[in-house]
Symmetry: none
Subunit: 139 residues, 4 copies
């Protein structure tokens, strides 16, 4: 392998567009959400806690985003059999709660988005809306 590889990364322009699209989708469905976007290293790029969302969902949304960025799969697809072991061994950063989606472009895993406060399908729908707004690969 070459020493220095070309890759891609999310710009803050993309992060702002994703937050805005997520918020608008959440407003349209009438379910306030917490939305967290992390880079491929699991470090926060942007987040918003909507008025009326659940306070603790900022934490669960972050865990969902980090899990999706780490594993490259929706957080809800972490197998039941290892969820507790992963959650405890990662200090809570890894979770099987649904609502986290990987962010991919050109086949490259760029990070993850996690959404929390609604029902699982609402959380996933907001994450999908954010991915679509920047032309990231759908799940």
């Amino acid at each position: 392998m070459t020493n220095f590889r070309s890759t891609k990364e999310l710009s803050h322009t993309a992060v702002m567009i994703m937050l805005k699209a997520g918020v608008e989708h959440a407003e349209d469905m009438g379910q306030p959400q917490c939305i967290v976007i992390v880079d491929a290293s699991g470090v926060t790029l942007g987040e918003i806690r909507m008025t009326g969302s659940k306070l603790l969902s900022l934490d669960t949304a972050r865990a969902k985003a980090v899990t999706a960025a780490s594993h490259g799969i929706p957080s809800g697809m972490i197998p039941d059999s290892v969820r507790l072991a992963v959650a405890t061994a990662t200090g809570g950063k890894g979770t099987g709660l649904p609502g986290g989606l990987p962010i991919r472009y050109d086949g490259i895993l760029l990070g993850g988005i996690g959404v929390g406060s609604g029902a699982p399908d609402q959380d996933v729908a907001v994450a999908c809306a954010a991915l679509a707004a920047v032309g990231a690969e759908p799940i």
Copy 2:
């Protein structure tokens, strides 16, 4: 949505009344308790660790209070299916242990109260007594 929304908050006068009422109810039932009151952002407004209560219950009472303030429901109503996932993803701040109640007035979620050291019904009874003492909405 408007930029600046009108809302309400608990005063320290209310917090002192709630602590006093909770302590008296706990004394009356002969079960020392830990009582924690948090605001709508989950930050402590007041707490008391009664003589003879369990040391660790100060932590569980805080988690119960934060959970109720976050979700707007009694902590014991967190669904069994997500309790462990929520607990790990929030660093232990979210809990399904009963004894945490939301504090509401005029339909506004102002925070939460968590009580721990007794049996579940004793914990809930102390929290209810504290809510009643300030005219907060009963559960």
Copy 3:
């Protein structure tokens, strides 16, 4: 004092406007920034880490925001004589680094905004631009 006090809070609409205005001001000056907005209890409402900003500035921006929300003054105005003591006693949450401004409306302290990655005057300028965008009281 009455048990339940009327107050105001920042909506997520305001937080999104502040983040957008801050990012645009930072782009205009050619200095990428980390921007964090917290509520009156110091809990994050929104944040953005701009492309090219310093990684650690997300932490310093949060500390600046929390300090301004706590003390109701610009973080840079914490007296030199107590900066280190406040920083250590608060686990790093309190800081004297400039770039944190209180968010006030109608004379009510609603939270704080912290900006970090640039020179002090650049950080403060971005925070001011964000305050102006929502009609919060200028410093």
Copy 4:
């Protein structure tokens, strides 16, 4: 030395009286305060964050209380020469900020009270009022 020594401890009745007296003194002087009371092991027995007090002062008040309970002297008497070393080596629990007083009765060190949000003399005055309310030894 005998294996099991007689000692004294603060009851929650005393803690409630101290919190109440501290709050009333703070109200009288028109300076909202954060007040924390800890036992001889530095573990919280009770605390109150008054409306309008500084958010971060809950942390500094706790550090002041723990320092006074540990050293048996007012927190402000920690020598300048070791303040930073003590603060960092204790993870911020030890502080030289004034406003922490030891709680003594019959010559026994029972814990500490820490007060923060006002000027140093205001913080100390509230702590003194709380000590006096339960007949603890004055400083």
